[in-house]
């Protein structure tokens, strides 16, 4: 009973300090909002390069290819004359200029080589290869729409999952995890390290409460502020309709986020208790957050990374957090739920133990 009261008192104290610092609240809430805006903006353009299209042939085949290019989801097409297109390319308003030549139809009908020119601003291979793929892909569609196509091979696609997930939805999960990770590790780590730098740890250690109670109090206070970050992201996701888990899986997703936040706050409390100073806590906390974000698929799908990086990813709690949330929110599935929850719970317990051990080593000077 007294331990519970002590934990509550510690939570009240940390939350009161946090609430009295509007900058600390801003530091917790602003980044997820800004990140959400960035994701919304960036995801709208992913995979669609701006190109200028010059059509010099009015014939039916030229017009057909032009209409395929305009409706392609690989391009954002701007129709232009040859001179205007060149200006757009020179001023970096477009990534490439595609020109359908004036003799396109005549060459096509007579079976002669019929090149469509693409002038690419080849600044880097990522964009350049996208463009190198996209025009031939449009030509493929052009042939597929011919009444007598010489290409006599069709793709018989089977999807592994029942529904497609948009890039925006897909990016939100690892970014939610990043926000929870930064809030948990950095905020909770700094809150714990502050007790040592301000020497208020003396009062706490001299009080008649156990080290476990002390770390549990710090962890739970950090957990609550971390949940606020998750709440902001989830609320924005729900308001915009991008992230709306339904039915039982909504509760499951909330539970998973809460558990992940607890694990990350635990990690923060452990790091803060071990290092006991601001600067090293920042160094470790920030780097840990960057790696956990990357290894959980925040920047690239984990399967696309080198094998040895994938192996390391399997040892990080955020990887399992992202997997659990993707399954619950996107696919309404509890696939490997036990494993994911066990890893997050195990991380929480382990960090609690590390935090307590770190405090046991501390003598009051």
């Amino acid at each position: 009973m007294s331990a519970a009261r002590a934990v509550l008192a510690l939570i009240r104290k940390d939350i009161a300090i946090w609430v009295r610092q509007p900058p600390a609240i801003a530091a917790t809430v602003l980044p997820p909002i800004v990140f959400m805006i960035v994701i919304f903006v960036a995801s709208a353009a992913v995979g669609r390069n701006p190109v200028a299209l010059v059509v010099l042939d009015d014939g039916p085949h030229g017009q057909k290819l032009s209409s395929i290019l305009q409706s392609s989801d690989a391009f954002r097409v701007q129709m232009a004359s040859a001179d205007d297109a060149q200006n757009l390319l020179d001023n970096l308003q477009v990534a490439a200029v595609i020109t359908i030549p004036s003799d396109f139809d005549a060459r096509f009908d007579s079976g002669q080589p019929d090149p469509v020119t693409i002038r690419i601003n080849n600044l880097n291979l990522d964009f350049t290869n996208d463009l190198r793929r996209s025009l031939p892909a449009a030509i493929t569609r052009f042939y597929a729409q011919q009444s007598q196509s010489p290409v006599d091979m069709t793709v018989q696609e089977t999807d592994l999952r029942s529904q497609d997930v948009s890039i925006l939805q897909f990016l939100l999960i690892p970014n939610l995890v990043l926000m929870v990770t930064v809030a948990g590790i950095v905020n909770c780590g700094l809150a714990t390290a502050r007790e040592f730098e301000d020497v208020t740890i003396k009062e706490l250690l001299l009080s008649p409460i156990s080290r476990t109670t002390l770390i549990a109090g710090k962890l739970l206070a950090g957990w609550l502020t971390t949940l606020l970050v998750a709440g902001v992201v989830m609320a924005l996701g729900a308001l915009t309709g991008v992230l709306r888990p339904t039915g039982w899986y909504a509760s499951l997703a909330v539970g998973e986020i809460a558990l992940l936040a607890l694990a990350m706050a635990g990690l923060g409390a452990a790091v803060g208790a071990l290092l006991q100073r601001f600067i090293p806590t920042i160094a470790i906390g920030v780097n840990l957050s960057i790696y956990l974000f990357f290894l959980s698929g925040g920047i690239s799908v984990v399967a696309f990374l080198p094998d040895w990086v994938q192996t390391i990813a399997h040892f990080t709690p955020s990887y399992y957090g992202v997997h659990a949330l993707q399954m619950a929110i996107f696919y309404h599935s509890s696939e490997q739920l036990g494993r994911d929850l066990a890893v997050m719970l195990g991380t929480t317990v382990a960090t609690l133990v590390v935090g307590v051990l770190a405090l046991r080593r501390r003598a009051v000077a």
């Binding site: 954002r76 990534a95 693409i118 190198r132 793929r133 996209s134 493929t140 042939y143 018989q156």
Partner: protein, 369 residues
């Protein structure tokens, strides 16, 4: 005389900050390790290259089937490996690959006899970006295959003309953007720490009670922190030049830009630290706002190619101008509509405005007993 006095103040404040930082080696550690890790993570990302890991199950190993697999390999889309059906199924279910393409047993015979071939493709439709890549790339491989196997039948082809004399690999391009991110993140972080520490340790009182002009105090902090960070940024740039292989076309321009960008970043950090007064608030805010700013400032390619909204937001980010200027110094080409002179002017503007704002914050500060 007053100029000489102001310079003495700037020098004294800078010296003081450097001496304080030298007592804390971890300060250097933070300045070095964060940008290096940032660089490492993004290089790993770039190395993954966006190529879809794909398994090919070859139930026919005839010459046309082999030619089709070559066409897939040349399509800039797949990282392919040949395996059997059971292994491919296991890999796609485990999330290790994105697609399984099965070459039917009668592939060569059907093509030679002019019969229709149906190509089974199992897609891990994890998200639309990658799924669409596969949906585009397989038909592309089919047409490329036909164009090489039956050139008289497929006459329409893409003819590429490149604007730049040579392709720039993705890793050297992205590494330059990451150097800018390193300069900005380190500068803002260290600047905010240096400023907030004065308030936490109450040494701000001494500064406030001195007759020195506030702008000189702010300028001294900027100079001191830039000197402290210069070594870390030199190391990160050295890694990009020596290990990544991105050689700067204009090395002197690069050195000048690095100093200017660092000055702008440190000034912004000092303003943030002076406003927030607590490291616990200043640090997460600095990191939390700089990271998203990085993603919208065109690190992967010109920011305005993200669309009108993305391009507009980028105009308000110092990182946007810095990335464009650094890309020019390294690769010699322009990656955004503003000219190099505009980039430099904007960065100078950010540095000056933040420094003036910091001195204004300092001039409004009151010393409490």
């Amino acid at each position: 005389m007053s100029v000489a006095r102001d310079l003495r103040v700037i020098g004294a404040v800078a010296r003081n900050d450097i001496q304080v930082a030298l007592t804390d080696r971890l300060f250097f550690f933070v300045g070095l390790i964060i940008p290096l890790n940032f660089l490492f993570v993004f290089i790993l990302f770039a190395l993954s290259g966006g190529l879809a890991p794909t398994a090919i199950v070859m139930n026919d190993r005839g010459p046309l089937a082999q030619q089709f697999v070559s066409a897939m390999g040349n399509s800039h889309s797949f990282r392919i490996h040949v395996t059997d059906a059971a292994q491919a199924q296991r890999q796609i279910e485990a999330g290790d690959i994105v697609a399984v393409v099965t070459i039917p047993q009668t592939f060569d015979d059907d093509l030679q006899a002019g019969r229709r071939v149906e190509l089974p493709v199992l897609v891990n439709n994890l998200q639309t970006d990658f799924t669409n890549d596969i949906r585009r790339a397989v038909p592309l491989a089919i047409t490329s295959f036909y164009a090489s196997a039956f050139p008289n039948q497929v006459v329409v082809q893409a003819r590429e003309v490149d604007v730049q004399a040579q392709d720039t690999d993705y890793v050297p391009y992205l590494a330059v953007s990451v150097v800018v991110a390193a300069v900005l993140i380190t500068g803002i972080l260290q600047g905010s720490i240096v400023a907030a520490r004065e308030y936490e340790s109450n040494t701000i009182k001494e500064l406030m009670l001195s007759p020195a002009p506030r702008w000189a105090l702010a300028a001294g902090k900027v100079v001191g922190t830039v000197i402290l960070n210069a070594g870390a940024i030199a190391v990160v740039t050295g890694v990009v030049v020596l290990l990544v292989g991105a050689r700067p076309v204009h090395p002197l321009e690069l050195a000048g830009l690095a100093l200017l960008t660092m000055a702008a970043a440190v000034s912004i950090g000092i303003l943030a630290g002076s406003l927030l007064k607590r490291r616990q608030a200043a640090i997460p805010l600095s990191i939390g706002l700089t990271l998203p700013l990085f993603f919208v400032s065109g690190p992967f390619g010109p920011a305005n190619w993200l669309g009108p909204v993305g391009g507009f937001i980028a105009l308000f980010s110092p990182m946007f101008y810095a990335i464009e200027a650094f890309q020019h110094a390294f690769h010699g080409y322009q990656t955004a509509p503003p000219s190099l002179a505009t980039d430099v002017l904007v960065l100078v503007g950010f540095a000056a405005a933040s420094m003036l704002a910091s001195s204004w914050v300092l001039s409004r500060a009151r010393v409490a007993h």
